[in-house]
């Protein structure tokens, strides 16, 4: 049974290596001189190896939250650790909402960027990337420039780049938003396969924080789903997903899945929170 409970209370367990810990995070931007509160009093924990998702309306601060988790920005208030360290830069594999492929690099060269930054030998990283290209349906496009790839292909290259980036926490900002339903479903299955089998070659065996608009995607992939309120974003609902693993797309038609989905959608719309 899916357990639906209220706003997260500070967990007793201390954050360990590979997990994420956020305590009382608040972030306010300035918009033409006016303060614009984006995130308020966010507190949650992700244990090492857990897969959690954040859903919420546009502008609720989801990307801002991932930026902070990645270490690219600091919160105005609160304490954030990822991978057991307050210094997150270099310790996470971050997939931004825009694909941000470097136009002068081939698709394959883009995919190995994270390995390259860490000084992994080129032939080795190219070898790994080649295998993943075939799996992700990008075989034959290794040497293509990003400008000739479709939006969905670019997104998959960016996803592979993230999977190949060394780091104990993976931060995914709407990683499959540009894909058609079928390809998206394939990518879900592939990601689940890698993650559930704990494939150590890639860091999919590690902690994942996913941001998505797609409630079904969140339910299918995650151990836990957080629903954010409209701006300023607060955690409105924490939903433990108790669907059995390994998970398959077939689960989406089960009674439990449908009920959880309805509960999450209601929370996203702001009903019964």
């Amino acid at each position: 049974m899916a357990s639906v409970r209220g706003v997260a209370r500070a967990s007793q367990t201390p954050p360990t290596e590979g997990g994420v810990s956020v305590r009382g995070l608040s972030k306010t931007y300035a918009l033409s001189g006016q303060p614009l509160p984006v995130l308020q009093e966010i507190t949650f924990d992700v244990q090492p190896g857990e897969f959690v998702s954040f859903v919420g309306p546009s502008g609720s601060g989801k990307s801002t939250l991932l930026n902070i988790l990645a270490g690219l920005e600091e919160p105005d208030r609160g304490v954030v650790t990822a991978g057991g360290s307050a210094r997150r830069l270099g310790g996470v594999a971050y997939m931004p909402q825009r694909d941000v492929l470097l136009p002068w690099r081939s698709a394959l060269e883009n995919a190995i960027l994270g390995l390259e930054v860490k000084g992994v030998p080129r032939h080795e990283s190219r070898q790994w990337a080649r295998e993943l290209f075939a799996v992700a349906g990008l075989g034959g496009f290794e040497d293509s420039l990003p400008s000739v790839l479709s939006g969905g292909m670019r997104q998959r290259v960016a996803f592979l780049r993230t999977v190949l980036t060394p780091g104990s926490v993976m931060l995914l900002d709407e990683p499959f938003g540009a894909l058609d339903a079928l390809t998206r479903s394939e990518m879900h299955e592939w990601l689940l396969g890698l993650w559930e089998h704990g494939d150590v070659m890639y860091n999919v065996s590690t902690t994942v924080v996913l941001v998505t608009h797609d409630v079904e995607e969140a339910l299918l992939l995650s151990d836990r789903v957080y629903v954010l309120s409209p701006r300023p974003g607060r955690i409105r609902l924490v939903h433990e997903v108790s669907l059995p693993r390994p998970r398959t797309p077939a689960l989406t038609t089960t009674e439990e899945f449908v009920r959880s989905k309805a509960a999450l959608l209601a929370a996203v719309r702001g009903e019964g929170a």
């Binding site: 930026n67 971050y94 470097l102 002068w104 390259e116 400008s147």
Partner: protein, 284 residues
Amino acid sequence: MRVQHVPSVLLATVPAGLLLCAWEAYVRVAGVDRVFLPAPTQVLKVTWDSAGLLATHARLTLLEATLGLLLAFVAGCALGAMVGLSPLLRRSVYPLLVVSQTIPMIALAPLLVLWFGFGILPKLLVVALVCFFPLAVSMADGLASAEPDALRLLRSMGASPTQLFFKVRLPGALPYLFSGAKIAVTYAVIGAVFGEWVGAYEGLGILMQTAKNSYRTDIVFAAILVTSLLSVGLFGLVSILERVMLPWHVRGSGTAMDQSPRIQPIIGGRRRAPGDRREIVENV
């Protein structure tokens, strides 16, 4: 036949050819003295006849232009990198670079000859002073306009400032640098000729002056022709180099990140704003 389908070589030669024909006709019909204005055919003939003389002088001018460009490239890139990477230097040194371009070369060149003699050095300095500016500005602007999202992505991977420079900033600045280089090379030969004009033993500049003083206007024109050919040749070399080095930066198609310094193609009579995909779709 649509204009787009005509080879551009043909398009470029038609107006030039018409102009030359008009010039030729005028000189012949009006019977203009060749000391006053030689006809294009006369210029071609004297160019052919004195090819050896022209080549000797052109060789030195080309050497000066190339060495001066090299100097400008090193200085321009170094200054451009400093200004492009440091907001402090951008505010303190950039204005100085701009002011350096307001010094009239016509006043400075004779002084350079006075200080450094009739040798090759003052010519190099004239070329370098004229050419470093477009290189420095393009380098500075190219480095400063690096895609912020790309920089953030690499920072999240734990990249060092050096890695940010070589993996994001520099490759992104190269299209800008090539635009600057194309402007610089067209100035280089003229700069060398000007440096020679002021005082030299050899070179196209001094050849023009002596030819003019001995009323050999046709040789002046021949020297002008060679000067143009050298400039066009250098420009072509840079264009080829650009194509080879930046295959991802295809002319006119806009870059993937829409940060191209190039003039965007004009579609449907209107200039396309960067990133305005909707308009392209409408007009295709």
